[in-house]
C-alpha cells in the first residue's frame, strides 16, 4: 500500500443539534479499491458520504478531518470545494429518476458537468460526454446522447448518473445505494460496471448500502456502521466468513433469509383464489387516425391458484406484468378475458353488494410505505377504512376494540391509533398497512412488493411477522416480489412470470433447487449471494 491513501477520514464526527449522528469515524480508501459502507438506515452511512463531499445539511456540525490526496477538505472554502466536487469526487445517488433533469437530453446533462468545471468548448464537452456514455455501456443504444431521461429504463438512467459522476475522471467515486431502486438483473449489471470502472481507471469507490449481499458481491473491504460508529472493519471475505460483532452477524442473517419451512401439503381443499386465463391489454399509442391502435398485452393468459392458508409467491422483473395481474386479481381493473374466482364465487364480474361482500375476503398491502396512507387521516381511521365493506359496520366501541386488537397483532400499541402516518418509520408503516388488511378478517392478502422499500433488518422482522400471522390466522398470501430471496423466505409455492406469462411454477424449494426455465435460471444467477462471493 502506498504511503498516502487516496482518501483518509480522521476521527470524523457529525452532529445536528444535540444528536451525534456520526462519531469518531476513521478509515481510508486507496486507489483501485472498493470499500463498502454498510449499516441499517439511521446508522449514519449516508451522512458520512455527504460529510466527505462537504455537503452536510444546514445546521450540521463537522469535526475531525477529511483528506483527499492529503489536502484537508474540511478547511476549504465553498469555491474551492465546488472545484473538487465533480472533478475529484463523483457521486451517484439511489434514485436515478430524480437525479436527472427530466427536460434535458442526457448528453447535454453529461456535457454540462464538463462545462461547469472549466473553459471547454462545447464540441469538446460533447465529445467527453460521448466517451463517458460509451464507458458506462450506453454506446449500443442508438442516439442515447439525444434521448430524454423518461425514454430510458431505470438501469439505463442509473448508467447516465454514473456517466455524469465519472465524466471528469474523478479519483474517488461515492455511490449511495446505487442499486437499491433496481431489480436483480439490472443490479448485477450496474455492480459489474462499477467494478470495471474502478479497475480501468484506478479510482477509489465507496459503495454505501444496507444490503450485505450487494456489498459482498462488489467490495474489497467492508466498514460496518452502527449508530454512527464503526463496529467492524476488514477485508470483505474475512468479515463475511468470520463476523465478530453481533450487529454484523444480524445484517448477514437478514441478507441471507432462511427459506420457509415447507408446510404440510394442502390436499383436497378447493382453491380459495382461482385465477383462470387472465388477459389484460392496453392500447399502444395511436399511429394512424384510420386504424385502431395496436395493443400491448401486459398479462397474457395467466392462471394460478391459492389454497386456504397457503403462501404463494409471484416473481419476475419489473415490467413482467405482475403488478398489472395483481390489480386484475384485486378487481381494480377489468381483464379483457379470463376470470377470478374468490371463495368459490365469481369475483372479477361481481358488482354491487356482492362485490363488496367478496372484497372482505381479499385485502392488499402495497409497496410504498409512504404512499399507502392518506397523510391527513389518523391511523385509526385508516385501519378502519375497509369497514366500509360491511353492510352493518360495527359499533364505535367494537370498532375501537378491533382496531386495538389488530394493532397488537402487528406489534404496535393501541395508542398508536390516534397518531398520523408521518410519525412512523417505514417498517412501522408497513405494519399499519398489514393491520388495515387484517381488519375485515380476510382469507387472502395480496402483497405488492410489500417489503422492497424496507431496510434489510426491518424486512426480516416484517417477514417474521407475516409468517407468524399466516400460521396463526390460517391466512393465504399472494406475495408479489422481484426479490427471490424474499419470496423464498415466505412462499410455499412460487410462480415465475416473464413478459406477461407464467413460465414456471412449483414448490418453492424445487424451483430454487432445479429451475426448469432459462429465465428462472437467469434470475437466480443474477441475485447477489454472500457465500459464493466470498468463497
Amino acid at each position: 500500500m502506498t504511503a498516502q491513501p487516496l482518501l483518509a477520514l480522521d476521527s470524523l464526527g457529525v452532529s445536528i443539534g444535540d444528536a451525534q449522528i456520526v462519531n469518531n469515524l476513521s478509515f481510508h480508501v486507496s486507489r483501485g479499491e472498493i470499500v463498502g459502507l454498510v449499516g441499517a438506515s439511521g446508522s449514519g452511512k449516508s451522512m458520512t458520504a455527504l460529510a466527505i463531499m462537504q455537503l452536510l445539511p444546514v445546521g450540521a456540525r463537522l469535526s475531525g478531518a477529511v483528506r483527499l490526496h492529503g489536502a484537508v477538505l474540511s478547511t476549504m472554502s465553498e469555491a474551492e470545494l465546488q472545484g473538487v466536487r465533480g472533478r475529484d469526487i463523483g457521486m451517484v445517488f439511489q434514485e436515478p429518476m430524480t437525479a436527472l433533469n427530466p427536460s434535458m437530453r442526457i448528453g447535454d446533462q453529461v456535457a454540462e458537468t464538463v462545462r461547469l468545471h472549466g473553459k471547454v468548448s462545447s464540441s469538446k464537452a460533447n465529445a467527453m460526454a460521448r466517451d463517458a456514455l460509451d464507458s458506462v455501456g450506453l454506446r449500443g443504444d442508438a442516439g442515447a446522447f439525444d434521448r430524454y431521461p423518461h425514454e430510458l429504463s431505470g438501469g439505463q438512467r442509473q448508467r447516465v448518473a454514473i456517466a455524469i459522476a465519472v465524466v471528469l475522471r474523478p479519483s474517488l467515486l461515492i455511490a449511495d445505494e446505487p442499486t437499491t431502486a433496481l431489480d436483480v438483473a439490472t443490479q448485477a449489471q450496474i455492480l459489474v460496471l462499477l467494478r470495471e470502472l474502478v479497475r480501468e481507471r484506478r479510482m477509489g469507490l465507496i459503495l454505501v448500502s444496507h444490503d450485505m449481499a450487494v456489498i459482498a458481491e462488489a467490495t474489497h473491504r467492508i466498514v460496518v456502521l452502527h449508530e454512527g460508529a464503526i463496529v467492524e472493519e476488514g477485508r470483505t471475505a474475512e468479515v463475511l466468513l468470520h463476523p465478530r460483532h453481533p450487529y454484523t452477524k444480524a445484517l448477514l442473517a437478514a441478507a441471507e433469509l432462511p427459506p420457509k419451512r415447507p408446510s404440510a401439503p394442502v390436499i383436497s381443499s378447493s382453491p380459495i383464489l382461482d385465477v383462470r386465463g387472465i388477459v389484460r391489454e392496453y392500447p399502444r399509442k395511436r399511429r394512424s387516425f384510420w386504424h385502431a391502435p395496436l395493443k400491448f398485452r401486459a398479462v397474457d393468459g395467466v392462471s394460478l391458484t391459492i389454497h386456504p392458508g397457503e403462501n404463494v409467491g409471484l416473481v419476475g422483473e419489473s415490467g413482467s406484468g405482475k403488478s398489472t395481474l395483481l390489480r386484475a386479481i384485486l378487481a381494480l381493473e377489468k381483464p379483457q378475458a379470463g376470470e377470478v374466482r374468490l371463495v368459490g364465487e365469481a369475483f372479477s364480474t361481481a358488482n354491487g353488494s356482492k362485490l363488496r361482500r367478496l372484497r372482505r375476503s381479499i385485502q392488499a398491502v402495497f409497496q410504498d410505505p409512504y404512499g399507502s396512507f392518506d397523510p391527513q387521516w389518523s391511523v385509526e381511521r385508516l385501519i378502519a377504512e375497509p369497514y366500509y365493506l360491511m353492510d352493518t359496520p360495527p359499533s364505535v366501541a367494537e370498532r375501537r376494540r378491533r382496531i386495538a386488537a389488530v394493532l397488537d397483532q402487528v406489534g404496535l400499541a393501541p395508542a398508536d391509533g390516534a397518531r398520523y402516518p408521518h410519525e412512523f418509520s417505514g417498517g412501522q408503516r408497513q405494519r399499519i398497512a398489514i393491520a388495515r388488511a387484517l381488519i375485515t378478517e380476510p382469507a387472502v392478502i395480496a402483497f405488492d412488493e410489500a417489503v422492497s422499500a424496507l431496510d434489510v433488518l426491518v424486512r426480516a422482522q416484517i417477514l417474521d411477522l407475516l409468517g407468524e400471522l399466516s400460521s396463526k390466522l390460517k391466512l393465504a398470501y399472494l406475495f408479489v416480489s422481484h426479490d427471490l430471496n424474499v419470496v423464498r423466505a415466505i412462499a410455499d409455492r412460487v410462480y415465475v412470470m416473464q413478459r406477461g406469462r407464467i413460465v414456471e411454477h412449483g414448490p418453492t424449494a424445487s424451483v430454487f433447487a432445479s429451475p426448469q426455465h432459462a429465465y428462472t435460471r437467469e434470475l437466480l444467477a443474477a441475485a447477489p449471494r454472500i457465500h459464493t462471493a466470498s468463497a
Binding site: R327, L330, L332, L355, R356, R359, I362, Q363, A364, F366, Q367, D368, G371, S372, F373, D374, P375, Q376, E385, P386, Y387, Y388, L389, A433, R436
Partner: protein, 267 residues
C-alpha cells in the same frame, strides 16, 4: 430566521388584509358619502378635509376608493367562488373517470380558454346588460377551466398513490374517494390558485368597469374612476393616480401572498 420569501408572505398578507378590511369598513362607514355630489367642492387638492382630495363632481376620493374596494373584493371573490364551485367538481370528475368523460371536460375547458377572456366578458355584458352581477358571471366563467385543470392535474397525481388503491380495495367508489382522499389533499393548492385568480379578478373587474361594463354609476368602482380621470389628466393627475395605485397595490399584495403560499407548499 426569516427568509425573504417569508417576508413576502407577511407583506402580501398585510396588504391583502388591509384592502379587505377597507372593503368591509366601507360597508358601514366612509368619511363622506362616496355618491354625494357637491359641485362647489370640486377638484380640491388633498388636505385635512379630504385626504385624497375631491373629483370633478366634488365627491371625496378616499371614500370612493374605499367603496371601490368593496365593489372590487365582492366581484373578485364571487367570481372565484363560481370558478371553484364549478371547476373543482369538473376536475375531480375528469381525474376520477378518465377516458371519454375526461376528454369531453378538458376539451370543453380548452374551448373556453380559446376565447379572448375580456372579449367574451364584453360579449356577455353586452348581451345581458352591464352591471356588477353580469361582470361576476363573466369573470367567473373564466375561472372555471383554471380550477378544473389544476384540480384534474393534481388529482391525477394523487390517483397514482397507493392510498387510492387501498380505498378501492376497501370497496369505495371513485366519487367517494374523490371527496374523502383527493379533495382534502388538494385544498392547499386550491387556496394558492384561488389567491391568484382573486388578483386576476380584481384586474378584470377594473378593466370591465373601465370600459363601462362593470358596476354602473353611481356605484363607485376603481375602473370607472380611472376612466373618469382620463379627461382630467392635466389639471388633476392624482385622480388617476389613486385608483391606479389601489389596483396595483391590491394585486401586488395578492400575488406576493399567492407566490409565498405556493413556495411554502413546495418545501
Amino acid at each position: 430566521m426569516r427568509s425573504p420569501r417569508g417576508v413576502g408572505v407577511a407583506v402580501g398578507a398585510g396588504i391583502t388584509l388591509a384592502f379587505i378590511g377597507m372593503a368591509v369598513l366601507a360597508q358601514f362607514w366612509t368619511p363622506y358619502d362616496p355618491q354625494a355630489l357637491k359641485i362647489i367642492d370640486k377638484l380640491q387638492a388633498p388636505g385635512w378635509q379630504h385626504w385624497f382630495g375631491t373629483d370633478q363632481l366634488g365627491r371625496d376620493v378616499l371614500s370612493m376608493i374605499m367603496a371601490g374596494a368593496k365593489n372590487s373584493v365582492g366581484v373578485a371573490l364571487l367570481s372565484v367562488v363560481i370558478g371553484l364551485g364549478a371547476g373543482v367538481p369538473l376536475g375531480l370528475l375528469a381525474a376520477a373517470r378518465g377516458g371519454a368523460i375526461d376528454e369531453i371536460i378538458m376539451r370543453g375547458n380548452d374551448l373556453i380558454f380559446a376565447f379572448p377572456s375580456l372579449l367574451l366578458a364584453i360579449l356577455i355584458t353586452a348581451v345581458f346588460g352591464p352591471g356588477a352581477g353580469n361582470a361576476i358571471v363573466a369573470i367567473g366563467i373564466f375561472n372555471i377551466p383554471v380550477f378544473a385543470r389544476v384540480t384534474r392535474g393534481a388529482g391525477l397525481a394523487l390517483w397514482t398513490r397507493d392510498y387510492t388503491a387501498a380505498a378501492r380495495v376497501a370497496g369505495k367508489g371513485p366519487f367517494r374517494i374523490s371527496f374523502e382522499h383527493i379533495l382534502p389533499n388538494l385544498l392547499g393548492l386550491l387556496v394558492v390558485q384561488g389567491t391568484i385568480q382573486f388578483s386576476l379578478g380584481v384586474i378584470a373587474e377594473a378593466g370591465l368597469s373601465y370600459v363601462g361594463l362593470g358596476a354602473q354609476p353611481p356605484t363607485p368602482s376603481w375602473g370607472r374612476m380611472l376612466n373618469d380621470a382620463q379627461t382630467l389628466t392635466v389639471p388633476a393627475p392624482r385622480l388617476a393616480l389613486y385608483p391606479g395605485l389601489a389596483v396595483l397595490l391590491f394585486v401586488l399584495g395578492l400575488n406576493l401572498l399567492g407566490d409565498g403560499l405556493r413556495s411554502r407548499r413546495e418545501q
